[in-house]
Each structure stands twice: as structure tokens, then as C-alpha cells.
């Protein structure tokens, strides 16, 4: 039987990026994927007639430009088309728009609060400062603070130096930014409830915290630290849906001679004498390699796909304690025509933007209270986009694809599993919410795909439906991610590595964990490094 140099489990964007970097370094890599298609949560699916759904992740910004260039993704067909602006609808029939034109945005903010319009510049400068600071650490391996190895000490020193270089005041701002709630953080800049609500949403997307929970200001970064074509903070659509990202990486991987098997669910990561030997598939096939890389979540890798006898009880305990509670859901909708939001009164420019429902911090927080009680939010935070307005390949002419991200949705309903009836009630509630702001909306709906944490777990493999493969709280960031002592992509068994978003720097279609893991593997195998280190900005 053929023995590969490395086997990568899971063809999500991190798995493919990892496989591509290893293959480029001259390894013979096998990529196995349980679904019949590749992409994981970075996927385009044709689920209704001629529509293409980005049915999990739906916008692109975080993808590291270093990875984009190193894997030559432009050559392999990836185009990211920027979109501009955002709009938040309030229940009193008004809205708050953000435009690509800064002057238009300023006028719009002035309409709501002249004071906040003045604060906007200060706010954006401060958040961008935090983005620039964190970006340089995304493509670096976090140091182990308990280690005395020169490499860890040097990396700690590096972080310390970069922090010191910010200057005293900015260091304090940074410490506060990482520990505050988004609601408190925004209170320091803005006074208008709608403006605060519009900004607060980014602090809770995908997280199991409320806008008033300390630690949510940092989550904001996971929605602000990206860029499109060098424009920091900008967002875009991958042309052809988010699957285009995975497909371009896959093309790179295969171009360099990599092998992929789809429809191949891994049953067990096999070991012998404390070293991995390969993977055993559910269909009985076995594949051998001395290096196995898991792109699956931490619990799935160690609690489901490994023999507990191969692992220490304390390690298993830590895997069980890994916080990976799902909090979001999604509706993918085929539309017969554009929705007509009453508030917009024909201002169609904002239809191309990121659209939100929710109009106050209090309502956002109450949505979280519902989640804590094990229920989907009755008045959820909705993040809606119509990519087909920007990328016509997504839907037939005159028709549209609409992606509706919903926060909060619990992994279990009051402690029990989701049923189809729960799912339908959840979907109905969301559609009715939109209908209330855009009368006639429901009549235009031709098909809906509903994604609750149950679907995300079963189909994509995201444990409990957590979109970041693990919550982004301080106990699970940097050298704590996923587990203290295992934050350098190496598993507890020799030859086993982890490359999914459960690892530093976490979720979002960033490809950073995949790239970082590849760098560590090549280092262990004494192969030439193909993975770029992080760039500093400016």
C-alpha cells in the first residue's frame, strides 16, 4: 500500500492551505474529505435550480494576503470583489447607512448625531490601530510562556517589544480593548443608540457572549482586521461564492501534484507506539503516513477520531472542557426579486451593503439572554447580504441570492436536540422579522436553506455549530488556543498536527492556522519553509 508523506483530514480552507503548502515543499500529500465536495465552511453549493449559495461563510476579508500570494490564488482563479457600506434598520422605520464615500457617511451620521459623526473618525482610527497591531501576529506561532526554549523566549520578547513600541497610552488602550465589552467600549465614543447597535454587532458574531460581556470588544477585531486588495478593514465577495477560495487553493494543491479523496470520512487516526501511522476511513480503507494533520475541531479530532488509550486522561479532560458552544445560524434564500425595505425608500445603493436588523444595545443583549436560556433569539441580530447584486454569477438574471446570518442560535434547545419543527419555527421567526421591515418579502422567497448549529455540525463538522471552531475568549486565544501547552499546532501524539481554526489565530476564512501549522510541520521534518511569515503593516 502506498504511504504518503502526510495526510490532511478535512478539505476546509485551512486543510487545503495546509496541504498546498506541504505539497509545495515537496511532500506527497493526501487530502481526505468526508463530504462529496470540498471547502468545509468556505463553500459554494448549488442547492436550488441555478442559484449558487455561499451557504456557510459568506464574505471575504480575513484571508491573509500573504497566503493569497504565496499560493498564487489569483492565478488559480480567485477574485475578490469589494462591496461597500452597511445599513442598520431600526424598528421606528429609520435607518443608519454607511457608504463607501466617507463624506456621505459623515452626513448620514450627522443626521443621527452630530457628536457621533465627529467621534466616528476617532473610533475608526483607534480600532484600526488595534487591527494593525494584531495583524502582525496572525501568521506567527504563539510562544509558550512556560517554556525556557530560546525560540519561545525570543518570540515572547518580540511580542513585548512590539507592544512597548506602541507607546504608553496605546498600550493601556490595547489592554482595555482586549478586556472590555463592546457596549462599554462604544459608550466611550458614541451616544446614539442606533449607531451603537450598528457597531456592536461585530462584537458578538459567532460568539457565546452578549454585547455587555467583557471580552467582546476584541471579537470585533475578527471582523475588522482583514482587507481586500490592501484596503484594511474592507470586505468583499469571492466571485462565485466562498467556495471560490477553497477551489483556488485546491487547484494550487493539485497543480503541485497533491491527491484528494472526497466522500472519505475518517473514523480513526491510527497510531502505533505513540506515533501516528495514518487514518482509517469509515468505508474500511486505510491510508498510511507518518504525519497526520487534522483540520477538524479539537473535540472531533481527539474525542471522536482517536483511541482514548492513546491520550492522557488530563488531555482528554481538557478537550471536553474546550468551549465550542455554537451561537449562530443562517438562512440561505433564493429570491424572485429584490426585497423592498420600507425605510430605504428606493435608496438601492444600500441594498448592496451589509444590512442589519436590531436597533439598540439592550435588544442585542436580550437576544443573548434568550440564547443563555437555550432558545433562539426572538429578536435576533441579523446580518443580511445580497451578493448577487455585486456578483451576478450567484443567481439567474433578475433573481437574487440572499444570505441571512442569525445571532443567537443555541446548539441545543433547552437542553435537548434540535428537531425539524424547531428549525422551521426558527426559520419562520427570521423570515417574519425581515417581512416586518420589507413587506412582501416572504412572497419573493422561492427557496430557503436553514442552517442551525445542528446542520453546521452534521454537514460541516463544526462541533456544536461554533463557526470559529472554538470560542474566542481569553482562555482560548494566543498561547491558550486550543489548550495551554498545545498551542503550537503539535498534537499530543508524535506526527500528529492540528491546522484548524481551533488553533491560533482562530476562526474566519483566514487560512492562517493552516499556514502556521504547515510551517511547524516543515520545521519538524527539516524541509525548506514555503510558508510566509507575517508582514507588518506600513
Amino acid at each position: 500500500m502506498k504511504k504518503y508523506d502526510a495526510i490532511v483530514i478535512g478539505a476546509g480552507h485551512n486543510g487545503i492551505a495546509n496541504a498546498a503548502f506541504l505539497q509545495k515543499a515537496g511532500l506527497d500529500v493526501l487530502l481526505v474529505e468526508k463530504n462529496d465536495w470540498i471547502g468545509g465552511a468556505s463553500v459554494s453549493r448549488n442547492l436550488h435550480e441555478d442559484w449558487i449559495y455561499s451557504n456557510c461563510s459568506y464574505v471575504c476579508s480575513l484571508l491573509r494576503p500573504e497566503v493569497y500570494r504565496a499560493l498564487d490564488l489569483a492565478k488559480y482563479g480567485l477574485q475578490v470583489v469589494p462591496y461597500g457600506g452597511s445599513v442598520t434598520f431600526s424598528s421606528d422605520g429609520d435607518y443608519l447607512g454607511r457608504y463607501t464615500d466617507p463624506d456621505a457617511s459623515r452626513r448620514e451620521y450627522q443626521r443621527h448625531s452630530p457628536r457621533d459623526a465627529d467621534a466616528l473618525h476617532r473610533y475608526e482610527r483607534d480600532v484600526m490601530r488595534q487591527c494593525r497591531f494584531i495583524r502582525q501576529f496572525l501568521l506567527r506561532t504563539a510562544p509558550d510562556p512556560t517554556s525556557f526554549k530560546p525560540r519561545d523566549l525570543l518570540e515572547l520578547l518580540h511580542i513585548g517589544r512590539e507592544l512597548w513600541a506602541l507607546g504608553e497610552d496605546t498600550i493601556y488602550d490595547t489592554m482595555r480593548f482586549y478586556t472590555m465589552s463592546i457596549a462599554d467600549y462604544l459608550d466611550e465614543y458614541f451616544e446614539n443608540p442606533l449607531i451603537k447597535a450598528a457597531k456592536a454587532g461585530s462584537g458578538i458574531i459567532g460568539s457565546a457572549m452578549g454585547v455587555m460581556s467583557p471580552g467582546t470588544a476584541y471579537v470585533l477585531l475578527h471582523h475588522a482586521m482583514g482587507d481586500v486588495d490592501g484596503t484594511a478593514g474592507a470586505w468583499g465577495f469571492a466571485r462565485g461564492g466562498m467556495g471560490a477560495i477553497a477551489n483556488a487553493m485546491q487547484a494550487c494543491f493539485e497543480d503541485h501534484g497533491g491527491t484528494t479523496i472526497t466522500g472519505a470520512s475518517v473514523e480513526q487516526i491510527t497510531t502505533r507506539g505513540g506515533h501516528v501511522t495514518g487514518v482509517a476511513l469509515a468505508n474500511g480503507d486505510e491510508h498510511r503516513a507518518d504525519t497526520v494533520v487534522s483540520n477538524m475541531t479539537l473535540p472531533r479530532t481527539f474525542l471522536e477520531c482517536m483511541d482514548p488509550k492513546d491520550l492522557l486522561p488530563e488531555f482528554l479532560e481538557k478537550c471536553r472542557n474546550f468551549k465550542i458552544r455554537g451561537s449562530s445560524g443562517k438562512l440561505n434564500i433564493a429570491l424572485d426579486g429584490l426585497p423592498e425595505f420600507t425605510a430605504l425608500r428606493g435608496n438601492t445603493e444600500l441594498l448592496c451593503a451589509d444590512m442589519h436588523l436590531v436597533d439598540s444595545i439592550e435588544k442585542l443583549e436580550r437576544a443573548y439572554d434568550d440564547w443563555k436560556d437555550g432558545h433562539w433569539s426572538r429578536e435576533p441580530y441579523l446580518d443580511m447580504l445580497i451578493p448577487s447584486l455585486t456578483d451576478p454569477t450567484m443567481a439567474p438574471p433578475g433573481k437574487h441570492f440572499m444570505s441571512v446570518f442569525v445571532q443567537y442560535v443555541p446548539p441545543k434547545i433547552e437542553g435537548r436536540d434540535w428537531t425539524d419543527a424547531d428549525r422551521d419555527a426558527f426559520s419562520d421567526n427570521v423570515l417574519n422579522r425581515i417581512e416586518a421591515y420589507a413587506p412582501g418579502f416572504r412572497d419573493k422567497v422561492m427557496h430557503v436553506e436553514v442552517r442551525t448549529p445542528r446542520e453546521l455540525e452534521n454537514e460541516v463538522g463544526l462541533t456544536e455549530g461554533n463557526i470559529f471552531q472554538g470560542e474566542l475568549t481569553m482562555d482560548q486565544l494566543l498561547f491558550n488556543r486550543p489548550i495551554p501547552g498545545y498551542a503550537q499546532y503539535r498534537g499530543p501524539v508524535k506526527g500528529l498536527y492540528m491546522c484548524g481554526s481551533s488553533n491560533h489565530p482562530g476562526g474566519g476564512v483566514m487560512a492562517a492556522p493552516g499556514a502556521n501549522a504547515a510551517r511547524e510541520i516543515l520545521r519538524d521534518l527539516r524541509r525548506p519553509n514555503t510558508v510566509p511569515e507575517g508582514w507588518t503593516d506600513d
Binding site: P145, T146, Y172, T179, E188, M209, S213, P214, K323, D475
Partner: protein
């Protein structure tokens, strides 16, 4: 001999103001303390709330008083005595399935074997982590981003202290220090009652539920396996002893003298103007009042640089704890508890979700109708508080926000009713024993003690407002940007609780600055001396 002593005014005779006064007076300075209330003590006082019934009207349990301060001030010689020490915490259960814990001990019908085992590791780790934080209390927080040797040395020491925990404990400390108590307790314990009781400790006195990050930090700040103490004669004895010590060292303490303004001479604080209009000048003014009151009202934000004023304005100090005092015609019978247990620290927090739900209301400006409570019956230990056979119950009630929607006027009655309903479930018949009751909302506490927002800690004690960020960057080393004006209250590092460290640290800084001539005040000339 030249008198190197300088004239110092301290605003407020709370425990920190008194410690600060005593420390500076001992160093030879001429200290005058102006206190608005008619007696010293701030929120650490004993007062009669109903005829014949006395209670610690603010803080009611002692657990963090720095032993070094007690020694330096010879508090025992000045009358500090304990009615009870080493009190453990009893988690109450309506069915009498109580449990009691203190350090690594866990007992009672509600305690499970697994938890009895788990609490040993918990106590060992939390004890070590808490000691690490406790060692920081007696230090002036270092500044970050500087090349100052003292700052770098302090940081190096902190790093070394964390490293000395050893690999496993260090990892655990770095993992949990910034997160919430809810998740950490779920990892370690199985009994909802135990988790509920400890989760209450993680939230006590803060505007945060068990699921809010920072609650582990708050728990570590409170964690002490020596248990709680009740001073004989109530909390007022502690501050009376402190005042006595300060006076003996030479400090002049004047009560009933509310300060209206901090006076400035061009760019430096030069004294205070009282409500009466009297003016008193000094070389240095130190404020034991909370930072928002000190800088916002007594000094005036307009006298501060805009960026700094902005920070001060946004100090979070939303008080969320009400105080309930009951005068009882007998000892209440808590289900399953004997008299010895009733004298411990009792908590109503049956599970962490209960506590979290109680907090939910506070977020929206409502009080919780099913509050979490921390209860003491000090009269069991101290017969000076009530007539024989009668008792005083003192309880902290969470949550009851300072800014209650609709205001507190009509609401106190409803909250008392909710508390009594709650207590009746745990101690049937207690309602009929109530002779008098008094409910102090955070709004009332603010009016009585003068702390903005009625917050125990003068400023929320969260990571973003602790150490070198407390109360705000630029004033975290006790000196404010205004020459000659210093802070010494709970709003400064290390925060509230009857510890006295803020007062003593501030005194050191003032004394050092005076000696170095860096307070902005001119060196004393020989004729002044």
C-alpha cells in the same frame, strides 16, 4: 532641627483616608482630614438602624485587611477586636440540603464526594493565584511602555511570580485569569449549590453575572481560605481604631466638614474650600473620595486635559448591590441549620444560572425579584448589636442597580417584599420575626457614603479598570495630572474591600514625591520650617 513635615489635607475619613493619614502623620507630616459625615469611617461604620438595633451599615464582613497595616497602626491597641473569625460560607438550600465550605473543607448534606475531592485542587490553585494578586496590593502599579527601571523591575517580579507557580499552575492561571467563573466552576464541580455559592463570590459587589468575563478575577480578589471575620462592635470599630491611631500619630480629623472644592493655585492643588466657605491651604491634597467625585466635582473636569477628562467621565461605577437590614425578634430558623451554622456567612445562590438570571435584570435597569444574597447575623457573635434574644440580619442583595428605571422611591418596598419572600423559603417564619427593616439601595448608599454610583469599589473592579488602568491611566499611581492632588480611595489600586492598601500606597507615593520635590510644590524654605 528642621521640620521637614509638610501640610497635607485628606478629603474623607473612610478607612483608606485614615490609613493614609496615619501613615503620613507617622512620617512627620501635618495632616488634616476633612470628613463630610458626622463620624469617621465612610462605608465602614456601625450605626443604629432601628431602636436598639445596630448594624455595620456598609461593609459587614472583614476578610482582606492587610495584617501589615493592622500591625503598623497597632489597631488591636486602639480597640480592634473580633467577635468572630474564620467564618466559612454556607450555601443555603430551601430543602435543608445545605453545604458549607472554607478553604479545602467542604461539608454538609448538600456536598458530594466528588466535590469534596475537587475542592482540594480548587483551593490549592485559587489559594496560590489569590496570593499572587494579594502580593500586588501593597505595590504601586508599575507603568507600561516606559524604560523606567522601577517599572521594569516590578513587571519582571510579576512575571517571575507567575513563573514560580510552576508549569501547570502557571498555565491554569494564564488560562482562567481573564474569563468567567461560570465556565470554570462547571469544569471543576458537579453540585449546583456549590457552584452557585462560589459563583456569587465571583460577582459580589460588581456589575457582572457569573457568565461575564472578569468574574474569575473578582473571585481571586476575594479568595481567602482563612475565612471571614466580624469585628466586635461592627465595622465601625475598625475605622474608630484607625482614627484613634491616626490621631495619636498627630493627624487632625475634623468630622462634619464637607469639602466643596479643591482649590488651585495656577497649575497645582493648593488646598480645599469647605461647604461653609472656609478655606484651608496645604502643600498636598489627597482625596479618599471616589475618582469621579474627586476629579469631576471637587476639582472640575474643565481643569483637566480633554483626553484625561474623557477617561474620567467614562469610569464605570454602576453600583448594583442593595443592603438589607432586618431587626428580628428572635433567631431565624434556616432550614437544616443549627445555631453555629447560622452564625456563618450564608448565601442564597442555589445555582449559577439562578445568579446569572438575577443579574439579567440589572442590565436593563431593573432589580431582580429573585435576588442572590449574602447574609450575616452578626448579633449571634456580638451581643452589643441587639438586646438579648433579639437579632440583626444584614444582607447584601444582588442585583439592584443604582439607576433603576422609574427611580428608587416606590421601589424599595417592592424589593424588601421580594427579599422577605425569598428569605421565607429558606427560613420559614422569618417574616413574623421582623420588627423593623431598612433597605439601602445603591442610590441610598451613594447618598450616605458619597461614592458615585453607590459602588463598593468606587469604580468597577474589572481587568480594564485594575492595576495600572485603575481608575484610569494617568492617575493609576495615585498622583493625578494635577500637581499636588492625589487619590487614595478604593477607586485606586487595589480597589475596595476593607484592606487599607490604597491609602497606604498613596501615602508612600506622596511622601516620596514630597521628599523628591516632584509634587509641583516648592521646597520648604527655612522660614516656613
Amino acid at each position: 532641627m528642621t521640620d521637614r513635615g509638610r501640610r497635607i489635607i485628606i478629603i474623607g475619613a473612610g478607612h483608606n483616608g485614615l490609613v493614609c493619614a496615619a501613615t503620613l502623620a507617622r512620617a512627620g507630616h501635618h495632616v488634616t482630614v476633612f470628613e463630610a459625615a458626622t463620624s469617621v469611617g465612610g462605608a465602614a461604620i456601625t450605626r443604629e438602624f432601628a431602636p436598639g438595633f445596630r448594624v455595620s451599615a456598609g461593609a459587614h464582613l472583614l476578610h482582606a485587611l492587610d495584617p501589615a497595616i493592622a500591625r503598623e497602626m497597632k489597631l488591636a491597641d486602639h480597640g480592634l477586636d473580633y467577635a468572630a473569625t474564620g467564618l466559612g460560607t454556607v450555601g443555603l438550600d430551601p430543602d435543608g440540603q445545605w453545604l458549607r465550605y472554607l478553604g479545602a473543607e467542604l461539608e454538609g448534606p448538600g456536598a458530594s464526594d466528588a466535590d469534596r475531592e475537587a475542592i482540594k485542587t480548587f483551593d490549592r490553585q485559587f489559594g496560590r493565584f489569590a496570593a499572587l494578586l494579594r502580593n500586588l496590593r501593597g505595590q504601586v502599579p508599575p507603568r507600561l511602555g516606559t524604560r523606567d527601571r522601577g517599572d521594569l523591575l516590578a513587571l519582571g517580579k510579576l512575571g517571575w511570580a507567575i513563573r514560580r507557580l510552576g508549569r501547570d499552575d502557571m498555565r491554569e492561571f494564564l488560562r482562567i485569569a481573564g474569563i468567567n467563573v461560570y465556565d470554570v466552576l462547571n469544569e471543576r464541580f458537579e453540585s449546583p449549590l456549590l457552584k452557585g455559592a462560589i459563583s456569587l463570590d465571583g460577582t459580589l459587589g460588581t456589575f457582572a453575572g457569573p457568565r461575564s468575563n472578569n468574574t474569575v478575577f473578582n473571585l481571586l480578589n476575594r479568595y481567602d481560605d482563612q475565612g471571614y471575620a466580624i469585628p466586635a462592635g461592627g465595622m465601625g470599630t475598625v475605622t474608630a481604631a484607625m482614627a484613634d491611631a491616626a490621631r495619636q500619630a498627630g493627624a487632625d480629623i475634623r468630622t462634619g466638614c464637607p469639602v466643596r472644592r479643591v482649590m488651585m493655585d495656577f497649575d497645582r492643588a493648593c488646598g480645599v474650600r469647605l461647604e461653609t466657605g472656609d478655606e484651608h491651604t496645604a502643600d498636598v491634597v489627597i482625596s479618599n473620595a471616589d475618582p469621579r467625585t474627586t476629579l469631576g466635582e471637587l476639582l472640575g473636569l474643565q481643569r483637566l486635559e480633554a483626553g484625561f477628562a474623557h477617561r474620567v467621565k467614562h469610569i464605570r461605577a454602576k453600583g448594583g448591590v442593595a443592603k438589607l437590614h432586618l431587626a428580628l425578634d428572635g433567631l431565624p430558623a434556616f432550614n437544616g441549620l443549627d445555631e453555629a451554622l447560622t452564625g456563618q456567612r450564608l448565601v442564597i445562590a442555589p445555582d449559577p444560572d439562578y445568579v446569572e438570571r438575577a443579574f439579567n435584570h440589572a442590565k436593563y435597569g431593573e432589580f431582580s425579584a429573585q435576588p442572590a444574597m449574602e447574609i450575616t447575623i452578626p448579633s449571634l457573635h456580638d451581643n452589643r448589636l441587639a438586646a438579648p434574644g433579639q437579632h440583626v440580619l444584614s444582607a447584601n442583595v444582588q442585583w439592584a442597580p443604582h439607576d433603576l428605571k422609574g427611580g428608587w422611591n416606590g421601589a424599595r418596598r417592592h424589593l424588601v417584599e421580594a427579599c422577605l419572600l425569598m428569605l421565607e423559603q429558606y427560613a420559614p417564619g422569618i417574616r413574623d420575626q421582623v420588627l423593623h427593616h431598612e433597605l439601602r439601595s445603591p442610590w441610598d448608599l451613594a447618598a450616605e457614603f458619597g461614592n458615585a454610583g453607590g459602588h463598593w469599589h468606587h469604580a468597577e473592579l474589572t481587568l480594564d479598570q485594575s492595576m495600572m488602568l485603575r481608575p484610569v491611566p494617568g492617575a493609576a499611581q495615585y498622583a493625578t495630572p494635577v500637581n499636588g492632588l492625589y487619590l487614595c480611595g478604593a477607586g485606586s489600586h487595589p480597589g475596595g474591600g476593607i484592606m487599607g492598601n490604597a491609602g497606604r500606597n498613596a501615602a508612600w507615593v506622596v511622601d516620596r514625591d514630597l521628599a523628591a520635590g516632584t509634587t509641583g510644590t516648592p521646597e520648604p524654605t527655612e522660614d516656613e520650617a
